[in-house]
Amino acid sequence: MSWLNNFLFVALPYVAVVIFCVGAVYRYRASGFQYSSLSSQFLEGRGSYLFSMLFHWGILILFIGHLVTFLFPAMTLAWHSDPVRLIIDEIVALALGLGVLIGLAGLLVRRISHPRLWVVTSRMDLMIELLLLAQIVLGLWTALGYRWGYYWFAADLSPYLWSVVKLNPQIEAVSAMPVVIQAHVVGAFIILGMIPFTRLVHFLVAPFHYLWRRQQLVMWYWDRKRVRDPGAGWTETRPGNN
């Protein structure tokens, strides 16, 4: 079995990360036009409100939770040494997971039941949606079947992930984990590697810069303060925003 574990927990993460980085950059440069959320609300209407909100907010917060536990295991352990906090966070995570499940399932049903949406649904859309659904089910299974994930994630999985980051993979701990958790980990890497080739790329171009940009945007083809200055060379009046 060690070759399989080596493949899943050593080779796969690196392959996934490389495909993700190279793929995302390549696709952005080659066909940036295709980076879009491809919203289908326009064709369907208000029906997606609840499901879309549940899914997006849920997965966003859960993702951040996973990221924080991975990046700052000591902090997570310290914070959860208080059982009240642990129980609250455990319940919150479970609720969010259920929300994501309901949201995702609702979105899938919506997509299948509206003929108009079929024309904007590709095979890849269905594939990634099913993968996400499987991943969420595995996550919920983990949460219910192997309680107190804040502890064992921080204690066992985070060091493994860090060892991958440090190019010195230590897979003993993860190899010994229950199959459900292993599947969840492997699923994460597969989805990561697929992101550049799916509609999920839209999260890479999330518009946070909107928060601190000026509201109105005006673009100039030339430097208007210099363009009529006889002393300015034409190369100088080329503006930066082209």
Binding site: A30, S31, G32, F33, Q34, Y35, S36, S37, L38, S39, S40, Q41, F42, L43, E44, G45, R46, S48, Y49, S52, M53, F55, H56, W57, P115, R116, W118, V119, V120, S122, M124, F197, T198, R199, V201, H202, V205, P207, H209, Y210, L211, R213, Q215, Q216, L217, V218, M219, W220, Y221, W222, D223, R224, K225, R226, V227, R228, W234, T237, R238, N242
Partner: protein
């Protein structure tokens, strides 16, 4: 003073025939594509009517434009907080059914059906799903007050009219309507630009055209909500938003935009207007009744030496300044005070101005006595049995405007933020020109009366002649005064528009437009 130039427009509503040539010209050039079938960057709607998309003027539904909160303004349905919180699902966005589901007919069935007892029919099929559909609505479903009471009577501009006034408007004998052609207004304070989380929408500094960068748009769809005129559209196939581009490739090469070039009624005028960009924010934030006056005062006199100097310091070319000095738009809007912005209360400072329609307003259906009526008509004329008269007489100089068969309030709701006095002013001026021309051409009005009318409207005979010329006789080059693009300064102006060897299609260097992933 931060002087900028804007390619601005005037539409003369009295002249619009409602022929839709403009819409078709635009569609053929720009929106005859998958995902864009339902889009009419230029559309002509019958007023009263609910328009396109249905009830677009009702911001209680669509939450478009800006609203005044205290002393400042903020976007009504989008913006930094509302926009980002609603990014996963935009509750204020119109959906395809608010426009109409595009369709075609299976024409081939007419030819290829096997012989049978019945005539073959061409069934309508959806251009989205390709499946047969029952057509519920189409473009201009309510053209010429057609359709059903669902349309005209739901016009949002009727909101302040009393039930009696509304009823009067729709009595068959009094029924009147006019056409309202609409394109993107290329606003000075564009809500679409401010609402775009990606920063894909921008206003071009040189000529003020508002564009969406298709490579940066990520389909967050906030612009569709934010534009109160509903002139940004979501392409459901490409997953990108699109809007009127004022045919900028044509403008840059000295041609009029397609809708304007093809306009059969010659109602459209295009020219440069210089404005003071320092005052945009302040102007957009004033009280509702002051909006139009402030907007007008931002448009600067292109002959004023101070304005010219400031414009030159801002890099505006001499050719553009000359264009501004002979701009038909400046004449209609500022010199003659004949044109008003549509729905100024949305606070986007639109730069498309409308000369209000005089015709349906001026004539009134009056109840008159039989004797009076007979006295007016010649002996061979038909006399009616009832006592109603469609009266276009101008015995009283301004009386007819107030007794119009179109309540002034209705026009005011559209063109002067509800202010009846403000809409009366251009109507009075139009009427004065009409009386003056009547004296000149028909001669049944005394010269004194004609000159009195002009004097009341603040016009000299020379101005009246100029207005008459530009309204009725103007040639192509009078109606469209297009500034040179000065590509010697900016070869990049057309960099992305498919003019490089190896480029394919409009706006893309890679292949044809492909829906993403």
């Amino acid at each position: 003073m931060d002087i900028r130039s804007q390619v601005s427009m005037v539409f003369h509503l009295d002249k619009c025939l409602g022929c839709h040539t403009c819409s078709v010209a635009c569609k053929n050039i720009w929106t005859d594509r998958k995902g864009a079938e339902y889009m009419w960057w230029n559309n002509v709607e019958t007023k009263p009517g609910t328009g396109y998309p249905t009830k677009w003027e009702d911001q209680g539904i669509y939450k478009g434009g800006w609203e005044k909160v205290g002393g400042a303004i903020s976007l009504k349905g989008a913006g930094k907080q509302k926009g980002l919180l609603n990014i996963f699902h935009n509750p204020n966005m119109p959906v395809i059914d608010d426009y109409y589901e595009p369709y075609t007919y299976q024409y081939l069935d007419l030819i290829e059906s096997p012989a049978g007892d019945d005539q073959p029919t061409a069934r309508p099929v959806s251009l989205i799903t390709g499946k047969p559909i029952d057509i519920k609505m189409g473009p201009n479903w309510d053209d010429d007050l057609g359709g059903s009471p669902d349309f005209a009577r739901n016009d949002p501009n009727l909101k302040d009219l009393s039930p009696a006034e509304q009823e009067a408007m729709f009595q068959l004998e009094r029924m009147a309507f006019f056409y309202l052609p609409r394109i993107c207004n290329h606003c000075l304070n564009p809500a679409c630009v401010a609402s775009c989380p990606s920063g894909a929408i921008y206003k071009r500094g040189e000529d003020g055209v508002v564009l969406i960068n298709q490579n940066v748009c990520r389909a967050w769809r906030m612009c569709v909500t934010a534009c109160p005129y509903k002139k940004t559209f979501y392409n459901w196939h490409a997953g990108k938003s699109e809007k009127c581009i004022l045919c900028y490739p044509r403008i840059e090469s000295g041609q009029a935009p397609a809708c304007m070039h093809s306009c059969v009624g010659r109602i459209r005028y295009l020219g440069v207007v210089l404005y003071d960009a320092d005052r945009i924010h302040e102007t957009a934030s004033v009280a509702e009744q002051d909006l139009i006056d402030h907007h007008m005062s931002m448009l600067m006199d292109p002959f004023d030496p101070a304005v010219i100097a400031a414009a030159k310091a801002n890099g505006i070319a001499d050719s553009t300044l000359h264009a501004a000095q002979s701009s038909p738009v400046y004449k209609f809007v500022k010199e003659w005070g004949l044109a008003l912005p549509l729905h100024a209360e949305f606070r986007t400072l639109p730069m498309l101005f409308y000369v209000p329609p005089l015709l349906p307003v001026m004539a009134a259906v009056k109840e008159v006595s039989h004797r009076e009526q007979e006295g007016k008509l010649s002996s061979v004329a038909k006399t009616w049995d009832d006592s109603w008269l469609y009266d276009t007489s101008t015995e009283e100089l301004w009386g007819a405007i107030d007794q119009a068969r179109f309540p002034l309030k209705y026009l005011a709701n559209m063109l002067s933020a509800g202010d009846e006095a403000r809409i009366k002013d251009p109507l009075k001026k139009l009427m004065a020109i009409r009386i003056y021309r009547r004296w000149k051409t028909v001669g049944d009005i005394s010269q004194q009366k004609a000159l009195d009318a002009l004097g009341d409207a603040g016009y000299t005979p020379e101005m009246a002649d100029a207005i008459y010329y530009l309204t009725s006789l103007a040639k192509f080059d009078d109606r469209f005064v297009i500034p040179a693009a000065h590509r010697e300064h900016a070869i990049e102006m057309l960099e992305y528009t498919g003019d490089n060897r190896g480029n394919a299609g409009f706006g893309f260097k890679a292949g044809t437009m492909q829906r993403g992933m």
